[in-house]
Amino acid sequence: MTDPKHMVRFENVQKSYDGETLVVKNLNLDIAQGEFLTMLGPSGSGKTTCLMMLAGFEPATHGEIFLNDRPINNVPPHKRGIGMVFQNYALFPHMTVAENLAFPLQVRGMDKDEQKKRVERALSMVELPQFGNRRPAQLSGGQQQRVAVARALVFDPELVLMDEPLGALDKQLREQMQYEIKHIHENLGVTVVYVTHDQTEALTMSDRVAVFNDGIIQQLSPPDVLYETPQNSFVAQFIGENNKLDGQVVEVTDGLCTVKLDDGTVLKADMVNVGGVGERTTISLRPERVELDPAVDMENMVDGTIEESIYLGDHIRVRMNVAGNTGFIAKVRNRGDRRHLVPGDSAKVGWAASDCKALDPVT
């Protein structure tokens, strides 16, 4: 009825393990069919718990979860038909790779020939056609990871859950696997709910990202929106690099506000998540939006002192003292005509008002 069709729906879901603290607080979340949704958040923020409730391994303390508009609170895990990739892969060590892949087909009573065909297809999908007779322990971490993905997909589930599947891999392999999982998702059109604490991973792979903190979804947006317009200070700090400037709102004019920083500097900022005049606020500003010694005047211009500069090839990272904040970072594009950014030199920094967001104060 709804368009696009909802695959999964969390309705006012709460979860407590000990009856004292809520690990998940009033979760409402719709996941569309074919979507790649990532739950991103620091460790302990309740991501795994959400996934476990969806898979059926943990009961929700309150609220209802729907799968294809059917309430599933009382459906046991094996009847939910949800594929799952675990963080440690959970490949059965006493079975070969092929037996692992055939397991979900066997328990569904599929006949032997069909099983064999499917297993072969799944193995070639993850580019491991020769590895059917190996034991999981005889595979490298990356290969085990692929087998785990293949096993979660071999019985054609509509929904696949992945709980930090790449957490144990090294950086290079992780990046490669990110693309492979993304491609598999695009080719098969399955719905994926993906859990990670790695923001790059979330941004690279997802259609939408749900940022978790403290059992609450802080923001649910596509990656670019998440980065460009964070809804609150937590998201701004958790996603990407970020300069924080604390101050007080002194004036509000159609979407923009004037903020007086604690050292007296006055800035104009995009008003995103702040009350009104007199309220405290934290301004968030991406380092790459800062211009060093701009040729033309910008909406916000502040004097600063260079504390340190680090050469990083394509850009130079400059740490400055701006408005009493010694951790102010500016990323300067390496145009070849770079000045010597000598520590101790003073420089002007400037940025557009729309590039800095006035958010809830960080205490």
Partner: protein, 516 residues
């Protein structure tokens, strides 16, 4: 070109081959390791391995015969029972000397007991003979020698005679007998040169002299006696023995001595499997003596039953413990270990109280009207009692390895299986259970090996039908004192366990055993 390719061994910086430098570097480590284990190694070697080795050695050792009656064993080797019904006078002469010395040393009863294992009645025959062998009518030789020359009466004469090698060569049997006699006396703190010459020595002397061909180089005293001995009156030693007991005329008595003469014997092992090495080869024992095969079978069967019931009761408990939060499981683990804090004897006695016909369990069953008062269950002094009590006692040994293996199985495996569509049972049976097999293996081996050698509990609650082979071994060690048989039974038990271990290794693989 700093890294030139060199043929031959890789050299360390100082030019010595790398292998040797490495070995030298590792040697100190090895020495340290050896020093660390040295006290335990010595302790185990001295208090465990050597005694057990000695014990196992006893299962084939049979030197008692050839040590107690060496001359007889020597001469009996030539006796062919098919040619002559009884050994000839020679053998009886030797046996006279041997028996006389044996009864002096009080060794004849031990030998009798040993041979009695193989032929009943020999023990009393030896005891009786020991009492009478000093009173043989062989003094006739002594009288005649002393009449010939009174010097024969003087032990000093004998001492002097047998110090001279030509005399010793001429009278080999007497020399050996004299030496054994002298050794015995000296062991008793006496001087052979002062003790009276016993009749058996004159008897031996007489035999040697009748056989002596040339008197060249021997003492004139001997030469004179050689001349005279042809005219001596003789007495048959064999008749003397037959006088004591006509059993000395039984061929089988002599055959059994002959068969058990060698220093090693398979007799104990044959006995352990209800066979007997008798006068006419190996044959099965009579019906009423066949107990060991049945006992071995019962020991194996009951140990298997105990192992199985431990597994049946212990698996769910271990499963529960390993799935509970650590604090709760630690609490419950204390309950599992509680039996270890009570003495084994107390626990077994408690089972006696519980299981007897007027005991708690029967009372409850009668009260619940499950069994009739007249037909109270017999739960003790039989196999049931042993199995119940031993299952209880050995249960922790099953639970602990199971628990420690199950603890290492991440819950994500079962979850993965369920997410792949397996029901609870399938997930358990196809995924969880195979991974708990190492724990089952470790627990089962532990319980089985412990129970196969268990002793106290079967002894107390087993009655006659519920005892194990180990109770029989204990009986032979402490009551019948047939250590050889006990050793043979023990060795067979050891071999059985090793064989089972081997089979287990073939089927399950010993690498699959985990204790934690």
């Amino acid at each position: 070109m700093s890294d030139t390719i060199q043929s031959g061994p890789v050299l360390a910086a100082d030019g010595t081959p790398l292998k040797r430098s490495l070995q030298r570097a590792l040697r100190r480590q090895k020495m340290r390791a050896l020093l660390l284990i040295a006290p335990l190694l010595a302790f185990i070697l001295i208090t465990f391995i050597l005694p057990i080795g000695d014990m196992l050695f006893r299962s084939v050792e049979n030197e008692i015969v050839s040590e107690t009656i060496p001359e007889t064993v020597d001469r009996l080797a030539d006796w062919n029972p098919d040619v002559s019904a009884l050994p000839d006078e020679n053998v009886f002469n030797a046996f006279y000397v041997d028996m006389f010395l044996a009864q002096e040393k009080k060794e004849h009863t031990r030998l009798g007991t040993r041979l009695n294992y193989e032929l009943t009645g020999v023990s009393s025959l030896f005891r009786k003979t020991g009492r009478r062998v000093t009173r043989f009518d062989t003094d006739i030789y002594a009288k005649q020698f002393i009449a010939l020359d009174p010097a024969w009466k003087d032990p000093q004469t004998w001492s002097a005679l047998f110090d001279v090698s030509s005399n010793r060569r001429a009278l080999p049997f007497t020399t050996r007998s004299w030496d054994r006699w002298g050794n015995y006396l000296r062991g008793e703190g006496k001087n052979p040169g002062e003790e009276d010459i016993e009749d058996f020595l004159f008897s031996a002397l007489h035999e040697d002299l009748t056989r002596l061909e040339s008197t060249d180089g021997v003492d004139p005293l001997i030469a004179a006696a050689t001349q005279a001995v042809g005219g001596f009156e003789t007495v048959s030693v064999r008749d003397q023995f037959l006088d004591i007991d006509k059993d000395w005329g039984r061929q089988d008595v002599w055959r059994i001595i002959q068969v058990y003469s060698p220093p090693f014997t398979t007799g104990y092992f044959l006995n352990s499997v209800d066979l007997q090495l008798g006068v006419d080869g190996i044959k099965t024992r009579s019906e009423d003596q066949r107990i060991y095969i049945v006992l071995f079978g019962r020991t194996m069967f009951m140990s298997l039953m105990i192992t199985f019931s431990c597994l049946l009761l212990g698996y769910p408990v271990a499963f529960l413990l390993s799935n509970l939060p650590l604090r709760t499981s630690n609490m419950l683990m204390i309950l599992v270990l509680l039996p270890f804090w009570t003495s084994l004897l107390v626990r077994t006695s408690a089972w006696k109280v519980l299981l007897q016909q007027q005991g708690v369990i029967n009372d409850v069953l009668v009260w619940l009207r499950i069994v009739d008062d007249a037909n109270r269950l017999i739960l003790i002094n039989n196999q049931t009692g042993t199995i119940i009590a031993m299952t209880h006692i050995l249960l922790p040994f099953m639970i602990l390895p199971l628990y420690s293996v199950m603890k290492t199985i991440p819950p994500s495996y079962v979850r993965a299986a369920k997410s792949l569509g397996a029901t609870d049972w399938t997930a358990f049976w196809r995924v969880y259970f195979p991974q708990s097999v190492p724990g089952i293996g470790a627990g089962a081996i532990l319980v089985f090996i412990l129970s196969i050698g268990y002793y106290i509990t079967p002894e107390l609650v087993g009655g006659t039908t519920g005892v194990f082979i180990s109770n029989r071994i204990a009986y032979h060690i402490s009551s019948s004192l047939n250590w050889g048989l006990a050793a043979a039974l023990g060795s067979i038990l050891l071999i059985l366990v090793l064989a089972l271990y081997w089979v287990y290794d073939k089927i399950v693989g010993i690498d699959n055993v985990k204790l934690g």
